[in-house]
Symmetry: C2
Subunit: 233 residues, 2 copies
């Protein structure tokens, strides 16, 4: 007999938050859109209470904004805010790489190399999605190899928040190929134990600079056009 994974009650709390978070990150609920408590309660077949708790958590995560007695709206991040967040992401990942270079064990080195080869395979297959996921694993291995749990958590959280935009970047031209080459430099530095160089390499890999900046802003423009459509009805 198959056991039910959770007491079902446990699901409720985080279920709502995860569902809403997903809807926001994927754009199902567009930036600027109002989050009405009763509608959501109706939609998820629960009362307003757990909905409110979910909204509060999303607000803490910075995904939505709750104004007193005025309800919640999905935060609309302007281009410069997104770039600012990538700047921080670059800093955090650089730090992770630096620490990973200093602290990684042999099994982590092997894992990193294996994942790097996996990236190569995905790149060769031409499957953008496959590369996306391999890329994600690559970065997460470095977070863990930093042996700093707090940093690991921070990186994961911010990375998740930036996920839609990372996806956007990967579409642009030969970004995947460039990305892989940059990964190579990161791997080299980490395995050599060169923290300074690892920091530098990963930071520049993540940062949105130069031509990538221009491309990114352009891609963002296309995204927001699509996004605003439903609101323009």
């Amino acid at each position: 007999m198959v056991e039910i994974s959770e007491p079902l009650a446990l699901a409720t709390g985080s279920r709502l938050r995860d569902a809403l978070e997903s809807d926001i990150l994927t754009g199902v609920i567009a930036p600027g859109e109002r989050l009405d408590e009763v509608s959501l309660a109706h939609r998820f077949q629960v009362s307003r209470t757990p909905i409110r708790e979910a909204l509060l958590q999303l607000a803490s995560a910075g995904l939505i904004e709750i104004r007193h007695r005025r309800g919640a709206v999905v935060r609309d991040l302007g281009p410069q805010q997104i770039v600012a967040m990538f700047e921080v992401m670059a800093g955090l990942e650089g730090l992770a790489a630096r620490l990973a270079a200093q602290r990684h064990g042999p099994e982590e080195a092997a894992e990193l190399l294996a994942c790097h080869e996996g990236c190569l395979a995905a790149l060769g297959s031409g499957d953008t999605d496959a590369y996306y996921y391999a890329n994600e694993r690559f970065h997460q291995i470095i977070y863990r190899a930093s042996h700093n749990l707090f940093l690991n958590e921070q990186c994961l959280a911010l990375s998740r928040r930036l996920r839609p935009y990372r996806r956007l970047q990967l579409r642009a031209g030969d970004r995947a190929k460039t990305s892989f080459a940059e990964h190579g430099a990161v791997v080299d530095a980490i395995l050599r134990g060169d923290g300074e160089q690892a920091d530098h390499a990963l930071r520049n890999h993540v940062a949105i600079q130069g031509q990538r900046f221009t491309d990114f802003i352009k891609a963002l423009g296309g995204l927001s056009e699509r996004r605003y459509q439903p609101a323009a009805e």
Copy 2:
């Protein structure tokens, strides 16, 4: 006639959170201690609903831990977790300094210099509290001068969370004097526009390394002894 600052209702929501946060950060509610909803509701003369919302926010901020159907407890950070958080703080502040070096305007330069002199005055007076506050301002000026709002917010949030431990460090021996000297190097690098050096200087200023690490662990031991006293009655 003096106007009441808020419609009083607005206060309720954040009032509870701030009060609880303060109690936790100052140790009034000790790490590991249980946060009973009904007791808190009684204490603050409100119902459980707003208490729960406050607890949820504190959990999002990482100050407490809520386990499903098992209530909330104040998170007990072990020494290595605290050190890990300082490591991240150092990384973020280093990034802020790097960006500040590249982006600061003339009025920010002036502000930084003025604050640095204020630190000197506080140091001369021998008033540890005065130096503590001047020091805090100094760092916050750099956050702002990074011209990265997200980074600024992240720095402020983490800084607040680490406040009690920063205070602890400042007590140790001639830390204030060393601190001020390190500030000098940071100011120089930022004003010169040397991002690399500014990053390096501020990162090492914030990080807990070498002798400071030993001192810090020792100080932490004393703190937890005091903290656990009430629970040991």
